[in-house]
């Protein structure tokens, strides 16, 4: 598993975010979500900055950050492969999908590929049991998967990434 460098947090972005939400009860989760939306995770530096602008204690924010499993404290891949391992998907072979990804990308659940393209994240239920076994990448759901289809999906995402990074 690779340990990539943390992202440098954009101070203006945080300042705007803080202005938008202000120091009110219950804004911490929303602020953290917005940060994660931008960076894919919540960098520690961001907490420092928010703490200073909004005077929300860092200990409080860190408590919230570690309480919810939706938040990540380490950088994650461009494509997070959320493979459902809930009951319905499990009986229809979700385990095989996870194994395929592990084998293909040489990563364990929760880890990133070295090029920071993929993250494997088995999740409990994505609410589309009719499509079992299914997975979700970014905001797109992929249903009735098989290990081969999973492999195809990975290849597709790789080429999507390549074409996106090629100069126009």
């Amino acid at each position: 598993m690779s340990q990539t460098k943390h992202i440098e947090v954009d101070q203006d972005f945080i300042e705007n975010l803080c202005d938008e939400f202000g120091n009110r009860e219950g804004t911490v989760v929303q602020i953290l979500q917005r940060i994660q939306e931008k960076y894919g995770y919540v960098p520690a530096d961001a907490l420092d900055m928010i703490g200073e602008y909004l005077e929300i204690p860092k200990s409080k924010m860190y408590g919230v950050l570690t309480f919810y499993s939706q938040f990540y404290r380490e950088p994650r891949g461009k494509y997070v492969l959320k493979i459902c391992v809930g009951t319905a998907c499990h009986v229809r072979g979700a385990g095989l999908l996870v194994d395929k990804v592990k084998e293909e990308l040489k990563i364990e659940p929760g880890e990133n590929t070295e090029d920071m393209l993929f993250t494997l994240e088995p999740v409990s239920c994505l609410g589309s049991c009719a499509l079992a076994p299914m997975a979700m990448v970014t905001d797109t759901a992929y249903g009735k998967l098989s290990p081969d289809k999973m492999l195809g999906l990975i290849k597709d995402l790789e080429s999507e990434h390549l074409s996106a990074s090629e100069p126009a």
């Binding site: 860092k58 200990s59 409080k60 924010m61 860190y62 408590g63 919810y68």
Partner: protein, 881 residues
């Protein structure tokens, strides 16, 4: 009021109280883990379960309110079962490593397990085996032992308002610790350590070094600041192992700051002086008391024989009332001198003198309870948390729980500024002007208003960046509020116009009608432990004991009658006049009791040279200091952990010091040293015990009899509440009626508007104001020798405004060159949005680099009392490439 029955005992309690409080009143002990009297109840540990007889229900007593006729059983079979089950669950993951746990022997969890016999469990246990968090130099977090009662997190939030630790993760994985896996970074008050009911938080300095039951506890008073914290100094074989506090006891109610809790190691270091030294052929050589006392006495006799006012004394404000009383007696009766000054005067006298003149007393008008009653609190030029930590805590409580509106006036931000309703920034130099304008605005009537008023007010807004809106808001709130307290502190007392500014505030307080009511008045924060007591005892040239004018023949007569001998001292003076006297040759001897005049002045000044003219320089101290280089005699003093006596707190409590260890080496108290000298010189104030001296003081000045805060809650060994017994004692505060009368007569002087205060011109050249402030982790210079406190703050740094640093491209921890024509120094940078853009703040304690070198050689004196104050100078700032 409602009637309830606790185990059949009928008690009447307030309708809003909880079952736990009702049980306390009934004298019934209910164990608790998560409950804490000074915090909101959490109801998380489930150990305070009680049974309601009528409904047969088990409820948590700490969060359940009482109801009329409620029948509560605290020891029924059902309750025992509930508590035992609870303990079983709590112990499921506990490592049960009591044999090696520092908490073993004083652990509520252990005590409870023993009481309920929760030795075997019906559940499969799984011992936690997480590694300890050893990153902090001060505290160790052991999550395995933690029962997640949350008291540490809550005391840090609710009482200290520091928020340094929190809950991390969720469910079984929850641990307590500082955020982001970083090293603990906080005020290190150690309150979390004190409230932890297990060994989850332990003291890293003494880990594995003691068993609690082998320690001998001595209750005594902390003398670092004037909060008057009651603490337990715990010793083993004459060595201090740790300092703890008892919940609910004393003015501090169980909280102590970092300095009080951890700053004791220096008194048992090998650096301590253990023998008297005398100079022989330019070297200080160890000698014996039996030879050194007659030698000094002989030299005193020679000098003092030539006339009055030939020898001066300097007195540390950390000594007891008894010692201060003896030293001033020695100075006036034996040395026949009124040249006496004290650290208690430097700065603080600028507040004390006008207050004593206006109110007739130095007993404070307000105590911490008044803070809780005040609707508005105005903090001017003070950092209560650093200067008088417990005042800071009560201020935070007043804001948080009593919804007091706090206005903070000053250039910089301190930890409490964030809680202010309004932080009114005044650029350095404008504080005195602010006090005058504010007072004139409120106390001056339109017709009699000082003609310069409007111009000065304009100046305040224009030259000192005061926000007119915030100012107007403050004025309005002050006028409308029925109660209010003004807190002034070190910066305010050390500005050039300090005593006039204090006079302005007194005038304003009187005009607002803030004298006669509870929750009203001025609270000046002393700088050191016994500032108030030392002044009350007359260790200052202005006053004989009891604040009597030292030059008034009537007062002289009074003390002559008491002491049974004529007093023939002269006019005398403070440090300013002492130095002038030495320079002119009029003063030939100086005896310094724990003071070091050199530290108050710039090395550019001629103070060292002046001191070299002395025929006799005696330094009584715990350690060798820069003064020792010039001293003819260096005498070892006992520390405050070794003394008995009394000290006066910021609230006016006269509390006892009790010796936790015997005198270090051959050291003696200052009082014993002067008694021996007096005896040797044949003057009839013979050597007496401290107890006898206390008796004399309390008989002659009966209003000074010992007093302490009557607690409103205490806690037992299983976290149970114990109802405190109220002890009758003399009042610690000034009598409001008497003060009111005095103030009313003083008000005549204030009717015709008082002279405007000019803004302060800060010496030096450059764009930046360099200000020396008090650190949270040090008290004077002595704590620089304390290894524990040095772990918290080990060297000087400069706090710079974040925007300024951005402009100059200076990053955190980079070194900057600070310079003016007097000198220069290099310091690492700490960034903050707290200080104004052209201000640099540095803790004053550290000797290296020489911060005083940036100050001019001419000595700055402030206030009408000419007290020594080195506060600010102008400098330039450069980044070091």
């Amino acid at each position: 009021m409602v009637k309830v029955f606790v185990n059949g005992v009928e008690v009447e309690v307030d309708a809003t109280s909880t079952i736990l409080k009702a049980a306390e009143k009934a004298g019934v002990a209910i164990p608790t883990f998560c409950y804490h009297p000074r915090m909101d109840p959490a109801g998380s540990c489930r150990i305070c379960a009680v049974e309601l007889e009528d409904s047969k229900r088990v409820v948590m007593s700490c969060v359940t309110p009482v109801a009329e006729g409620m029948r509560i059983l605290t020891e029924s079979a059902k309750v025992a079962d509930a508590r035992k089950t609870n303990l079983e669950l709590l112990l499921l993951h506990h490592p049960l490593d009591c044999p090696v746990c520092d908490c073993g022997g004083e652990c509520p969890l252990q005590n409870m397990s023993f009481a309920y016999g929760a030795s075997d469990s019906r559940f499969e246990s799984h011992r936690n085996d997480e590694v300890e968090d050893l990153k902090s130099d001060v505290l160790v977090f052991n999550s395995n032992r933690c029962i997640l009662c949350g008291k540490c997190v809550r005391i840090c939030d609710e009482v200290q308002d520091v928020h340094a630790i929190g809950f991390i993760n969720r469910g079984f994985d929850t641990v307590i610790g500082p955020p982001l896996g970083k090293k603990l970074d906080c005020e290190f008050c150690g309150d979390c350590l004190e409230v932890c009911p297990t060994g989850a938080i332990t003291d890293k300095f003494v880990r594995y070094q003691y068993r609690p039951w082998q320690l001998e506890k001595t209750k005594t008073t902390c003398t670092y600041c004037a909060s008057g914290c009651q603490m337990n100094v715990e010793t083993e074989k004459e060595a201090i192992i740790r300092v703890t506090s008892s919940e609910g006891e004393g003015p501090n109610e169980g909280s102590i700051c970092a300095i009080g809790r951890f700053g004791f190691s220096h008194v048992q270091s090998t650096e301590r002086l253990d023998k008297p030294y005398a100079r022989s052929f330019s070297r200080l050589v160890p000698t014996e008391w039996d030879s050194v006392i007659p030698e000094i006495a002989e030299r005193i006799r020679k000098i003092a024989g030539t006339g009055p006012d030939r020898i001066a004394t300097l007195v540390s404000p950390r000594i007891t009332l008894e010692d201060a009383y003896l030293i001033q007696g020695f100075t006036r009766r034996v040395l026949r001198s009124n040249f006496i000054d004290s650290g208690a005067r430097y700065g603080f006298m600028n507040a004390a003198f006008p207050i004593a003149r206006a109110t007739g007393t130095l007993r404070p008008m307000v105590d911490h309870q008044d803070l809780l009653k005040a609707k508005v609190i105005l903090v001017i030029g003070a950092d209560p948390t650093a200067e008088s930590n417990i005042t800071g805590l009560f201020l935070k409580r007043a804001i948080r729980k009593e919804k007091a509106r706090m206005y903070y006036v000053g250039s910089e931000s301190v930890s409490i500024t964030a809680r202010a309703k309004e932080h009114i920034r005044v650029l350095p130099g404008g504080e005195g002007l602010f006090a005058w304008v504010l007072s004139e605005e409120i106390a001056g009537e339109e017709s009699s208003r000082h003609p310069e008023f409007l111009a000065k007010k304009e100046d305040l807004f224009k030259s000192f960046n005061v926000d007119p809106q915030a100012y107007t808001k403050l004025v309005q709130d002050l006028r409308e509020s029925p109660t209010g307290v003004i807190i002034t502190g070190r910066v305010f007392h050390r500005i050039q116009s300090a005593s006039d500014a204090m006079e302005s505030l007194l005038r304003m307080t009187n005009a607002l009608g803030w004298v006669e009511k509870e929750g009203c008045g001025i609270l000046p924060l002393p700088e050191v432990g016994n500032d108030l007591g030392v002044l009350m005892m007359g260790a200052t040239h202005e006053w004989l004991p009891g604040l009597l004018d030292s030059q008034d023949p009537e007062n002289k007569k009074k003390w002559e009658a008491t002491w049974g001998e004529p007093l023939s001292y002269g006019k005398g003076g403070g440090l300013k006049e002492i130095l002038e006297g030495i320079k002119s040759g009029a003063i030939k001897g100086l005896i310094s009791f724990g003071e070091n005049p050199l530290t108050h002045f710039s090395p550019n000044s001629e103070v060292r040279e002046i001191l070299s003219k002395l025929d006799l320089l005696v330094s009584v101290d715990l350690f060798q200091t820069s003064l020792s280089d010039q001293a003819h005699f260096l005498l070892p003093a006992a520390s405050s952990y070794e003394r008995s006596g009394h000290v006066v707190s910021v609230e006016g409590f006269v509390q006892a010091l009790n010796p936790a260890m015997t005198y270090w080496g051959e050291s003696l108290t200052d009082g014993e040293i002067v008694s021996r000298l007096a005896e040797c010189m044949g003057v009839p104030f013979a050597t007496r015990s401290t107890g006898e001296v206390s008796k004399e003081i309390f008989t002659l000045m009966p209003d000074l009899s010992p007093s302490t805060r009557n607690g409103d809650h205490f806690m037992g060994p299983t976290g149970n509440l114990i109802l405190p017994t109220i002890v009758n004692q003399p009042p610690h505060k000034a009598d409001r009626k008497t003060v009111m009368k005095r103030m009313a007569s003083r008000a005549e002087n204030w009717k015709s508007a008082i002279t405007p205060i000019q803004p302060e011109i800060i010496s030096g050249e450059g764009d930046f104001v360099f200000a020396l402030n008090k650190s949270l982790f040090h008290s004077g210079k002595m704590t620089l020798l304390d290894p524990s406190l040095m772990k918290m703050e080990s060297s000087a740094f400069v706090r710079i405004n974040r925007q300024t640093a951005k402009k100059l491209k200076i990053k955190k921890n980079e070194n900057v060159l600070i310079e003016n024509s007097y000198g220069s120094c290099i310091l690492p940078v700490e960034l903050t949005s707290g200080v104004t853009e052209n201000e640099l703040q540095v803790p004053y304690h550290f000797d290296s680099p020489d911060l005083m070198g940036l100050f001019p050689g001419e000595i700055n004196y402030s206030g009408t009392c000419s007290t020594v104050t080195m506060l600010r100078t102008r400098v330039t700032l450069k980044k070091i490439e």
